[in-house]
Symmetry: C2
Subunit: 301 residues, 2 copies
């Protein structure tokens, strides 16, 4: 398999635009009552994100032989959960961020109370959308319910929310490598895994293959976080949308701080290698996921 | 049907204790990792509440000929959603309350960031629990999915969250009766309705009867809110767990302010009457719901 980074960047952009179109459709009630909450939900979701989680949902379905159109609600739901988590993470009581990808954060535009409620509403809406997968012909309702349970676990107190708790607790503390890995596995890894599995489960993938996807998601989540930390040290502010060095300023333990920049690169490459190994049973149909893992080593935002 | 208020109070207490037992079982992971979030979730749920929403779930199932044990996860889920909403409503950016039913609020004990995350985690967990209803023998998975969608709508931007947005917007403003009714229908009425319907749907109730329950829930929600407002004027602080007159202090429009105390009583009685009328097709099996409506006129907390 060849990997043309520039071409893949275009492919990602195309997929991002497809996801944006789906989200526009599912958040079309911007003028619904009460107006402010629906406008704020729209603002929070259209935040210039890369849409990696919906892309993983679609790819999971495609690997299981399913059609993209059959998992659109699930893909949108995963992005809404990600968007809600960003709104709450940015709040003054949490990371207290004024900007995200160059735009004022939700609480700066709509006020703190409405930002809390906007996150709540997006999280709530996500589960209605997951349940809507039942209306898609051929989808097994028991699999939809399993997806709802898995997504809830990935996003909850033993997943993403738990990771944010640990992240806040860790500020200014000494952390070893297993401790850092646990934070990131919970805070970002579990939702990546749930996204990939959601698409695959809805399209009927068997357990053995689902296990391979778990391994892929694990490596992907870690490589994503390590390269994220590297970008914070040496990225281009205009591309990453926040000041370089913000992790150090916030006294956060990062992979480059634990391993040095070169050591962090080695670890990122090892995890991308693990992603490729996990896909050995899949053949050409998994080439997109292979390229997506390789792309992490080339990302600039 | 006779109504013995003292006897019914004992019946409610018995049911509350049953719900508490169910919740203990479903929140048994108080020592799970990370500890602080699981302890805070437990603290937030065991708040001395009356457990009206789970009681409505059980009663909906029983009216449809179902068994209480078959809707335990749904009943707990509804109470978790209610508990999360209280934690977020109490936050400094919202109502800024230090006490709830005589106990320090969640953010006073665990800090603001953890309180936001505790609400998020309870809301998230609630949907996993709703999905767990699929494991109960005889339950139709399509009905479980319908319940998830209805609960999500009742709790979201067009339901409870929307009501809280309106409530915050209304502070210090002039509000007419339809405006006040809309706030309360969204903020509390929709979730009462979803609770009663959830139990009934899971136990297989037909659409005609579900419509009757909608009418009941509408009257019940309004009578509940009106009597709540009345208690805030003339209740016993020791029983209601907050200072009398707090609505007036917070400059909130209430039913007694719009109608006077006697006018508010008349409206409460009319809504209880509407509850009784909605149950005409049900026979004796609905006596508990009839008594529950009548009890609102006697409540002291």
């Amino acid at each position: 398999m060849e990997f043309d980074c520039q071409q893949f960047r275009q492919e990602l952009q195309k997929r991002k635009e497809f996801v944006d179109g789906c989200l526009e459709q599912y958040l079309s009630d911007r003028d619904a009552f009460p107006p402010v909450i629906h406008q704020a939900m729209h603002y929070a979701v259209f935040n210039g994100g890369k849409r990696l989680r919906p892309i993983l949902v679609f790819e999971g379905a495609s690997l299981a032989g399913g059609d993209r159109s059959s998992v659109v609600p699930a893909a949108c739901a995963l992005e809404m959960i990600h968007s809600y988590s960003l709104v709450h993470d940015d709040l003054p009581a949490m990371d207290d961020d004024d900007f995200r990808r160059g735009k004022p954060t939700c609480h700066r535009v709509y006020g703190e109370a409405n930002a809390i409620l906007t996150g709540d509403a997006l999280l709530t809406r996500a589960f209605a959308m997951l349940a809507q997968n039942r209306q898609i012909p051929g989808v097994d309702p028991l699999r939809v319910l399993r997806v709802i349970e898995e997504v809830s676990q990935a996003a909850g107190s033993r997943g993403m929310v738990g990771g944010q708790v640990l992240d806040l607790e860790s500020e200014g503390k000494i952390l070893d490598e297993p401790g850092l890995e646990t934070i990131h596995r919970l805070k970002t890894g579990e939702l990546f895994k749930a996204a990939l599995r959601a698409g695959a489960l809805l399209a009927g993938m068997d357990e053995a293959k689902l296990n391979c996807l778990d391994s892929y998601a694990r490596g992907f989540g870690l490589a994503f976080q390590i390269t994220d930390d590297i970008l914070d040290v040496k990225g281009d502010e205009a591309l990453i949308g926040k000041p370089v060095g913000s992790d150090e300023k916030n006294n956060k333990i990062t992979y480059p701080r634990l391993y040095g920049l070169e050591g962090a690169w080695v670890l990122a490459r090892e995890n991308v290698e693990a992603c490729l190994n996990s896909l050995q049973g899949f053949g050409e149909s998994a080439d997109f996921l292979r390229r997506l893992a390789l792309f992490l080593l080339e990302r600039d935002s």
